[in-house]
């Protein structure tokens, strides 16, 4: 054997088991002698890897070089692959090695092949993919319409036979979407109210129109900011939860199990969520508006010396009651839309985790966008309601 095998005493020594290649002349031939442990574990430190790749660079694959692998202590598939790739995927003509190492190298030699190429999409493919967007939008619109139609039928069914409705699920969802959302919506509302009051008070003082802060805060918070703020928060909080919940049921085949039992998804899954959000959403929106008004009231007291008692007495005069009804009905529509969009994307999840993540993201983004769109629609449609000319 051309080199001494490491003595047992330093067998544990890291340096002695590092994979190495040495070049030496023996019996008139060039020999490349590999030793050490050629395993993924031994090569997984950067020093070991750099030294072995340097060693290999010094002994390029040549016809007249003899290879001696017998001093190798251990050879696994990674080490064998390294050698095989170094030999440019062909056996060197002169090779000495132990039989168990040969078995590993044989396997590597047998199975090494070219990676299958991913065919890059051609221009026509890209065009087709782009052109498919049109029909896809039609499909989405059709599916969403179908969901709304199914919901209408299910609500009709519930009215005909209320005792068969999924009331327990409904009350659970109501608690989840409504009661547990109260702290976060109150906090956000309070802070927005304070910020808004401080900002407007600066401007109003310049014109000496301090008392108008009640009108500005009352109208903007009750009519617009409260409902939209609450809807955005609930879309992020409950819309994503609905999608994730239904999506996980798809991944774990629970939806299929329900269908096999003859339990319709629309009646049992979609309807309770939609109804729960339709009821919870106006309440949360009112709660958010109240918190925001409270914050604004405190800020007005601090910055403009407008006392809370004046604020409260001026509020009903500044904001007609119809604004509250408008805000509540708007919120109910937001709730229904958020729940429907959440359910839609949940049902569309394919049985893999990646699709679940994408579905949840699209659900939140879509529902926030739709909420703001519908809010704009309400603003245009009801521009004559609740505003004193």
């Amino acid at each position: 054997m051309p080199i001494d095998s490491p003595s047992p005493a330093d067998a544990q020594d890291a340096a002695s088991v590092q994979p190495r290649v040495e070049e030496r002349d023996h019996e008139g031939a060039h020999w490349a002698v590999a030793s050490g442990r050629w395993t993924a574990l031994a090569m997984s430190s950067s020093s070991a890897w750099e030294s072995v790749s340097q060693d290999l660079e010094c002994v390029p694959a040549q016809d007249d070089r003899h290879w001696d692998l017998r001093p190798i202590e251990q050879l696994d598939h990674i080490g064998a692959q390294l050698l095989w790739n170094h030999w440019q995927k062909a056996w060197p003509p002169h090779l000495e090695m132990d039989s168990q190492h040969k078995a590993v190298l044989d396997q590597v030699a047998l199975y090494t092949c070219l990676a299958p190429v991913d065919t890059a999409p051609t221009l026509a493919d890209r065009f087709k993919a782009f052109a498919h967007n049109g029909p896809r939008m039609m499909f989405v619109a059709r599916d969403f319409l179908r969901l709304i139609g199914q919901l209408t039928l299910d609500v009709g069914k519930l009215i005909r036979a209320p005792h068969r409705g999924p009331w327990r699920d409904f009350s659970g969802q109501l608690y989840q979407f409504g009661a547990t959302a109260l702290p976060i919506t109150a906090l956000v509302g309070l802070l927005i109210g304070i910020v808004l009051a401080y900002l407007t008070s600066q401007q109003l003082r310049q014109y000496g129109a301090e008392t108008f802060i009640v009108n500005i805060l009352g109208l903007s918070l009750i009519r617009e900011l409260g409902p939209v703020l609450a809807a955005v928060l609930i879309a992020g909080r409950s819309g994503s939860a609905i999608t994730a919940q239904i999506g996980v049921m798809r991944v774990t085949e629970e939806l299929d199990a329900m269908r096999v039992m003859g339990i319709p998804h629309g009646f049992r899954l979609v309807m309770p969520r939609v109804l729960a959000l339709a009821i919870a959403m106006p309440l949360i929106s009112m709660w958010t508006s109240m918190a925001a008004l409270f914050g604004g009231m405190i800020a007005a007291d601090l910055s403009l010396d407008i006392s809370p008692s004046y604020f409260l007495s001026a509020l009903p005069r500044a904001v007609p009651l119809s604004n509250l009804w408008l805000a509540m009905s708007k919120s109910a529509v937001f709730g229904i839309l958020i729940a429907l969009i959440g359910c839609y994307f949940g049902m569309k999840v394919k049985p893999n985790t990646e699709s679940l993540g994408r579905g949840t993201t699209s659900s939140v983004v879509t529902s926030i966008t739709i909420v703001i769109l519908v809010d704009a629609l309400f603003a245009v449609l009801f521009k004559g309601v609740g505003l004193r000319a």
């Binding site: 890897w49 990674i78 692959q81 396997q107 590597v108 199975y111 092949c113 070219l114």
Partner: protein
């Protein structure tokens, strides 16, 4: 790996006086009580036991994913938590449902542990992953598929290839043949046997499939009464008097599987351990 100088004597996994207690409001549930188990290098040990006897929990404790309430687990002479931090080079695990990363293609799944080293060149990693892919009986054409497009048997194979990518000395399998058709299960057994022979792996396996059990195991450890009641070759275990063993091995299904064992092609003692030479070691 069996050819390291002192291969036969060393133990890979040592479990001493292990207690596992699950705390719950209505009383603590003791899963393991003073459990002792030693797994030697190069053997294929099967863990057998009824449902809820803590077989998977034991595997997870060997992996360092869960901590025992009391007692010691050491893997390759170290605590398991240290070991799994050192990555896939030491321990490979085949999870029951594959646990493939669904965001990656098959090839990227297999190559993932090597890529994360950020050390080896990309073409070497790709070639190594392709070799492992074919070793577990898949074709290179399947390398670009995503895990969602694979059948159950293929998922198991890819998961095995991923567990083996760095040729770890210790391989843990959780129900490797559950959910496979008989032919795939046989193929899987052949594959594992071949890998065990070529790489000299130590394999710890949880299985309920008696065919796989008799086909692959060099030793069987039976979990009952919150401990390992007996660990030994198939014959020794069956001879041990305990109601669970009687029901498990000598029931209808057991009888059929035993017939295969008695037909002479019994691989008991594959790793050079002559069957019957070892008395059933009652570990407690």
């Amino acid at each position: 790996m069996t050819d390291t100088p002192h291969s036969d004597a060393t133990s890979v996994v040592e479990i001493r006086k292990l207690w596992t207690v699950f705390k719950s409001p209505d009383g603590d549930q003791v899963v393991h009580r003073d459990l002792d188990l030693t797994i030697m290098r190069g053997e294929v040990l099967s863990l057998v036991g009824g449902s809820g006897t803590g077989k998977t929990v034991l595997l997870r404790q060997i992996l360092g994913l869960e901590h025992p309430t009391k007692g010691q687990v050491s893997v390759l002479g170290r605590p398991p938590a240290q070991l799994s931090a050192m990555g896939a080079a030491n321990v490979g695990m085949l999870f029951q449902h594959g646990a493939l990363f669904s965001a990656f293609s098959v090839l990227d799944n297999i190559a993932f542990p090597l890529r994360e080293l950020k050390l080896l060149p990309d073409d070497l990693i790709r070639d190594a992953a392709l070799v492992k892919l074919q070793m577990v009986g898949l074709t290179p054409q399947q390398a670009t598929k995503s895990p969602a497009d694979l059948s159950g048997g293929m998922i198991k194979r890819v998961a095995l290839a991923r567990a083996l990518i760095m040729d770890p000395p210790l391989l843990l399998l959780d129900e490797p043949t559950a959910g496979l058709d008989p032919e795939s299960a046989d193929g899987f057994c052949d594959l594992l046997r071949g890998l065990h022979r070529e790489l000299g792996l130590t394999v710890v396996m949880v299985t309920h499939d008696l065919d796989t059990l008799f086909d692959l195991s060099t030793r069987i450890a039976v979990l009952a009464d919150q401990k390992v009641i007996v660990a030994g070759t198939a014959r020794d275990v069956i001879a041990y008097p305990h109601p669970f063993i009687h029901e498990y091995f000598l029931g209808g299904r057991g009888q059929r599987a035993m017939e295969a064992l008695h037909e002479g092609s019994a691989p008991v003692g594959v790793a050079g351990r002559p069957s019957g030479s070892q008395a059933p070691s009652t570990e407690r």
